[in-house]
C-alpha cells in the first residue's frame, strides 16, 4: 500500500467535498442552523406550554369551605400551596369551580329511617348530579378542561362526622360511639382523559394534591383520637445520595452523548460516502480513477479517510452546536416556572469529552467503511440514499439498547458491535474505570475486527466488476431463482457462504424458541438427544447440505469431500486435538474467570451434564457430544462456509471469518469465544489438507476429550498418581500442569509447521491476490523518458 497515493486521494476528495455546496451545508451549515432553530422552537413551545395551563373543574367544592374542621384544600381559588411539592405548581393548575346541583339539598344521612317521601326529591338530585357530570365529561372530551374532580354532596359532612366519632371515642364515649353506625365516606371522583397527555399530567398533579390533603386529614384524625402519629407512620426514610454532582452529571451525559455522537457519525459518513462512490460512478470519474496507478485498496483508504473526516467533523460540530444551543435554551427555561433543568445541563467534564472523542474515531471508521461499501454497491446517488434507512434500522437498536436501564457491560454485550462501544463509553464517562478496563479488550477487539471487515468489504466491493459496472436488472424473483440454480458455480460464492451462516442462525433462533416451549417438566436423556439432534442436523448440517446440492455445481467439492486424506494427515489432526486439549481447558478456565458465567446458566449447564450421565450406554454421550457435532458443524462451517469464504482471496481471512461464524453458532458467549479460537485451528487444517475428514477427526477428538474431562475428578480421587499430570483447582474442574501444557503447545507448533508444508490448493482469487502482492514497488518509478519529452516539445 502506497501511503503517498492515499494522501493524494484523500486531499483531492476533501477538496472536492469542500467545493460541494450540499456537503458543506450538511456538515457545517446545518448543525449551526439546525440546533438554534430547534432551540427556538423548543423555547416557543415552552412559552406555549406555560400559557396553556391545565384546567381542573371542581364540582361540589363549596361544601368543603363550610367544613372548618378540615384542613384547607383550596386557598384563594387555587389548591393550597402547602399540599404541593412545588408551590409554583399551584399557580400553574387553573381551578374552575362548579356547584353540585344537589348541594342545596340537606345532606342525606344514610339511615334506615330515611323517609321514603324524600325519594322523588332524591331522584331529582341524582339526575341533576348526573347531568352535571355528563356535561363535565363532554368538556373533558373536547379538551376544554383536563381533569374533573367531583366531591359528592355529603362528602364534607361525612368527613366531619368521622372526625367527631373519633373525637368522641377518645373522650371516653366508646360505648356511645360504638352505637353510632360506621361512617361511610363517599368517594370523590377524579375523571381524566388518558388519551390526552395534558390531561394525564394534570390528573397526576391533582392526585398528588389529594394524597397530601388526605394525609393531612389522617394526621388530624389521629390527633383527635389521641393516638400518636407514628402508629401509622412508624418511621421516615432519610435519603442520602453519595453521588457527587459531577457523577450525577456524568451519568446523564453518559446516556445522551454517545447516542448523539454515534447518530451523527453515521449520518455524517453516509452522504460523503454516497457522493464519493455512487456519485463518481454517475459522473463517470470512477473509471478514470480505477485506470490510474492507485491500487484499489489505496483508493478505498483515501476515500475512507475522507468519509471519516466528514463523519467525525459532523459529529463534533453537531455536538458543539447542540451543547451551546441546549445550554442557552435551558438557561432561558430555568427562568420559567416549573422548569428546573439548567443545573443538569452544564457542560460535561473534560475527561468525558475526551473519552467520547476517543470512542468516536473507531465508530466513525466503522460507519465510514460500512457506508463506503454500501455506496460502492449503489449504481446512483439515488440508490445509495436508499441504503441509509436499512443502515439506520440495524444501527439504531444497537445504539438505543445500552440506554435502557439495567443494560450493563458484560461479556455478551461487549461482543456486540456498536452496543459494546456505547456501553464502554458510558462506563468511562461515569469513571467506572475498573469495569471498563475489564471489557476494554473484547470491545476494542470486536470494534477493530468490525472496522477491518467493513474496510475489507469496501475494498472487495471496489474489486468487484459486477458492482462497479452493475447494470439495471428487471426485478423478477423467478428468473433470479432460475439463474441461481442454472448459473451455479462449482463452489459456493461469498454471498452464498454469508447467506448459509445467516440461515443457520435464523433456524437456530426459531428452533430454540420452539424447543423452549416444549420442555417437559422433567427433561430426560431422550429429550436431550432429540434437542441435540435437531440443533445439529436440522439447524446446522441440513442448510449447508441443501445449499451445496442446489446452489453449487460440485457439492462434494464444496463440502471438501473430494480429496481422500492420507492416513498421516488424519493422525496429525487427531494428535493436534489431543495436544491442544490441555490448552483449550486452560483457555476455557481463563475465559470463565475473566467473564463469569451467570449463576442460572451455570446451573443449567450442570443440569445438562447430569442429564448426559443418565445415558443408557456410556458411549452414547460421546456420540451426541463429539461425533454428531463433528459431522454437522464441520460440513457447514469448514465445508460450505469456508469454501465460499475462500473467494475473498485470502485464506487467513477465510479461516478467521469461518472461525468467528463457528463460534457464534454456540449460544453461550463464553463458549463462543473458546469455540472461535479452536475454529481457527480446524480452519487451518481444512485449508491445508483440502479435506473435511481430518477436521471431523480433530473436532471429534477434541469434543470427546472435553466431555471426558468432566468425569475425571472421580478418576483423580481413585488414582492420586495422576496429580503429576492434572490437578483440580476447584471442585469438579480439571486442569493440566504447566510443564505438560508447555510440552503439548510445543508439539502442537511442530505439527502446525508440518501442516504448513503441505501444498494447499489456492483458489483463483487467492492466486491472483498472491501474485498481485508480489508486484515490485521498484517498477512504480515514472516511465517518462528524456527522448520522449524532447519529441513532445
Amino acid at each position: 500500500m502506497n501511503w503517498r497515493n492515499i494522501r493524494l486521494i484523500y486531499a483531492r476528495e476533501i477538496r472536492d467535498q469542500l467545493r460541494d455546496r450540499r456537503t458543506l451545508f450538511m456538515i457545517a451549515v446545518l448543525p449551526m442552523l439546525l440546533y438554534p432553530l430547534l432551540g427556538m422552537s423548543v423555547f416557543q413551545l415552552s412559552q406555549f406550554v406555560r400559557k396553556s395551563e391545565p384546567v381542573i373543574l371542581i364540582i361540589g367544592a363549596e361544601q368543603l369551605q363550610a367544613e372548618h374542621t378540615l384542613p384547607p384544600l383550596f386557598e384563594n381559588g387555587k389548591f393550597a400551596a402547602n399540599l404541593m411539592a412545588d408551590p409554583k405548581l399551584a399557580d400553574w393548575l387553573h381551578l374552575e369551580f362548579a356547584p353540585n346541583e344537589n348541594a342545596a339539598t340537606p345532606p342525606s344521612v344514610p339511615s334506615a329511617k330515611k323517609p321514603h317521601a324524600h325519594a322523588s326529591g332524591g331522584e331529582d338530585a341524582e339526575s341533576a348530579r348526573d347531568a352535571v357530570l355528563i356535561a363535565a365529561e363532554e368538556r373533558l372530551k373536547t379538551g376544554d378542561v383536563q381533569v374533573v374532580l367531583h366531591f359528592p354532596a355529603d362528602f364534607g359532612h361525612r368527613l366531619r362526622e368521622l372526625h367527631a366519632q373519633i373525637k368522641a371515642r377518645a373522650e371516653g364515649g366508646h360505648e356511645q360511639a360504638a352505637r353510632l353506625p360506621p361512617v361511610d365516606i363517599p368517594r370523590p371522583q377524579l375523571t381524566s382523559n388518558s388519551s390526552k397527555e395534558k390531561s394525564a399530567i394534570a390528573n397526576m398533579q391533582v392526585e398528588q394534591v389529594l394524597d397530601a390533603w388526605r394525609s393531612q386529614i389522617g394526621r388530624e384524625n389521629l390527633l383527635a383520637s389521641e393516638i400518636p402519629a407514628n402508629v401509622v407512620r412508624p418511621f421516615d426514610l432519610q435519603p442520602h445520595d453519595i453521588a457527587e454532582r459531577r457523577q450525577q452529571q456524568a451519568l446523564m451525559w453518559s446516556k445522551i452523548l454517545p447516542f448523539v455522537l454515534i447518530i451523527w457519525a453515521l449520518t455524517g459518513a453516509f452522504y460523503p460516502a454516497v457522493d464519493l462512490c455512487a456519485g463518481e460512478k454517475e459522473r463517470g470519474t470512477l473509471e478514470t480513477l480505477l485506470s490510474s496507478p492507485a491500487a484499489r485498496i489505496e483508493i478505498v483508504w483515501g476515500k475512507l479517510l475522507t468519509v471519516m473526516t466528514f463523519s467525525t467533523a459532523t459529529a463534533l460540530l453537531n455536538l458543539a452546536s447542540l451543547g451551546m444551543t441546549a445550554r442557552y435554551v435551558m438557561t432561558q427555561l430555568s427562568a420559567m416556572p416549573r422548569v428546573d433543568l439548567a443545573e443538569g445541563m452544564q457542560l460535561p467534564p473534560i475527561p468525558s469529552l475526551l473519552w467520547l472523542v476517543a470512542a468516536l474515531l473507531p465508530m466513525s471508521a466503522f460507519f465510514s467503511a460500512l457506508c463506503l461499501a454500501c455506496a460502492a454497491f449503489a449504481r446512483s446517488t439515488k440508490e445509495g440514499q436508499y441504503y441509509l434507512i436499512p443502515l439506520f434500522l440495524v444501527s439504531m437498536p444497537l445504539m438505543m439498547l445500552p440506554l435502557q436501564p439495567g443494560i450493563e457491560l458484560n461479556l455478551g454485550n461487549s461482543l456486540v458491535p456498536i452496543m459494546g462501544v456505547v456501553l464502554l463509553v458510558m462506563s468511562l464517562v461515569q469513571s467506572n474505570y475498573a469495569e471498563a478496563l475489564r471489557y476494554f479488550v473484547p470491545v476494542c477487539a470486536v470494534t477493530l475486527v468490525c472496522c477491518h471487515l467493513a474496510i475489507r468489504w469496501a475494498v472487495y466491493q471496489f474489486n468487484q466488476e459486477s458492482v462497479l459496472f452493475r447494470e439495471s436488472e428487471r426485478l423478477d424473483p423467478k428468473r433470479w431463482l432460475v439463474h441461481l440454480v442454472r448459473d451455479r458455480q462449482d463452489t459456493p460464492t461469498l454471498a452464498q457462504a454469508f447467506f448459509c451462516v445467516t440461515l443457520i442462525y435464523v433456524i437456530q433462533f426459531f428452533v430454540q424458541i420452539a424447543v423452549s416451549a416444549h420442555v417437559p417438566a422433567v427433561p430426560d436423556f431422550r429429550f436431550l438427544t432429540l434437542v441435540l439432534f435437531i440443533s445439529q442436523v436440522v439447524c446446522i448440517a441440513l442448510p449447508a447440505l441443501l445449499m451445496a446440492i442446489i446452489l453449487t455445481g460440485r457439492p462434494r467439492q464444496s463440502l471438501l469431500l473430494v480429496r481422500v486424506p492420507r492416513l498421516i494427515t488424519c493422525m496429525v489432526a487427531v494428535s493436534l486435538a489431543v495436544l491442544l486439549h490441555p490448552l483449550g481447558l486452560q483457555l476455557a478456565t481463563w475465559i470463565r474467570e475473566l467473564y463469569p458465567v451467570q449463576h442460572e446458566v451455570q446451573s443449567d449447564l450442570e443440569g445438562f451434564t447430569q442429564l448426559l450421565q443418565t445415558a443408557p450406554y456410556a458411549w452414547l454421550p460421546y456420540v451426541i457430544m463429539a461425533v454428531l457435532p463433528a459431522f454437522c458443524e464441520e460440513l457447514a462451517f469448514r465445508g460450505f462456509v469456508l469454501s465460499g469464504l475462500r473467494h475473498i482471496g485470502s485464506k487467513w481471512w477465510a479461516i478467521g471469518l469461518s472461525a468467528v461464524f463457528f463460534g457464534m453458532a454456540h449460544g453461550l458467549a463464553q463458549q463462543s469465544l473458546a469455540a472461535a479460537i479452536v475454529g481457527l485451528a480446524i480452519g487451518y487444517i481444512a485449508v491445508q489438507t483440502g479435506s473435511i475428514v481430518p477436521c471431523m477427526l480433530f473436532h471429534m477428538t477434541y469434543n470427546g476429550l472435553m466431555f471426558a474431562t468432566q468425569l475425571w475428578p472421580q478418576a483423580l480421587q481413585q488414582h492420586p498418581g495422576l496429580t503429576n499430570v492434572v490437578y483440580e483447582p476447584s471442585p469438579g474442574q480439571i486442569l493440566y500442569t504447566w510443564p505438560l501444557m508447555l510440552l503439548c503447545g510445543g508439539l502442537a507448533a511442530v505439527l502446525f509447521a508440518w501442516l504448513k508444508r503441505l501444498p494447499y490448493q489456492a483458489t483463483r482469487e487467492e492466486q491472483i491476490s498472491d501474485a498481485r502482492s508480489r508486484q515490485s514497488l521498484q517498477a512504480f518509478a515514472p516511465v517518462a523518458s528524456e527522448p520522449a519529452k524532447s519529441q513532445l516539445s
Partner: protein
Amino acid sequence: MIDVRSLTKAYSDLTRGEVLALSQLTFSAKAGQVYGLLGPNGAGKTTALRILSTVLQPTSGTAIIGGFDCVTQPEMVRHQIGFISANTAVYDRMTAWEMVEYFGRLYGLDDDELRERMELLFERLQMQEIRDLLGAKMSTGMKQKVSIARAIVHDPPVLIFDEATTGLDVLVARALLDTVAELRDQGKCILFSTHIMREAERLCDRVAIMHRGHILAEGTLDELRDQHAERDLEELFFQLIRREMVST
C-alpha cells in the same frame, strides 16, 4: 508492447445465463503502431480495452502490456498505459490544471518534473485558457483535451483510446486524431477502438474487425483489402459482419 492471447470474458446474465462478451481474442501491437479495433456497438471493444486497462478481469486468457500481466500485475500495467474512453470523465469540481496535476502525482512524478511536463502539455494541447476552469464548466472538447493530458502526463509507452472521438465536433475530433498520429510518431504503441471507418483508415497500421466478442479479420489495411478483394474499408466491414450474421 501489447500481447493478447485467447482473451475470454464471460458474464452471467439473469435471462440468458452465461454470455460471452469476448471469445478467444488474440492480437498483438508494437511500439510506433496504431492498432485499430473496429466493430459495431456491442462487439466487445470496450470490454477488451477495459481488461487491458485492468479495470476488468478476464475469465481466461492473458493480456500482457510492456511485459506485465494485466491480471496479476495490474498496478505495473497501469503505469505503462494511458487510458482514454467515453467512460473516463473529468472531475466537475477540479480545474484542468488540478486534474492533470493530481494524476501526474498519482503516477509518481516529482514536483519539478510534473510542472515541466504539464507546462509542455498545456501548451501543446492549447489548454492554457482552460487551465483554471472547473470541469463542470468545460465543453466536451475541452474535457477531451483534459482527458488526453491526464492520460499522457506520465508519458506512457502505451495509449488506449476507446471510442475517444464519440460526441466530439469535427474540429476537436480532427485535433484528437492529429494528436494520436503524433503520439504514434513518437514511438508510442496505440490501441484505438472506433466504429468510424474513416478514422481507422486514416490512423491505423493494423486493424482487427470485431463482432460479438471475436475477431472476424485481422491485419494491415492493405492485407485486409487484398484478402477480401474490397478496397473500401466500410464495405469490407459490412461484408464481414453480414457474412458472420448469416453463418450464425
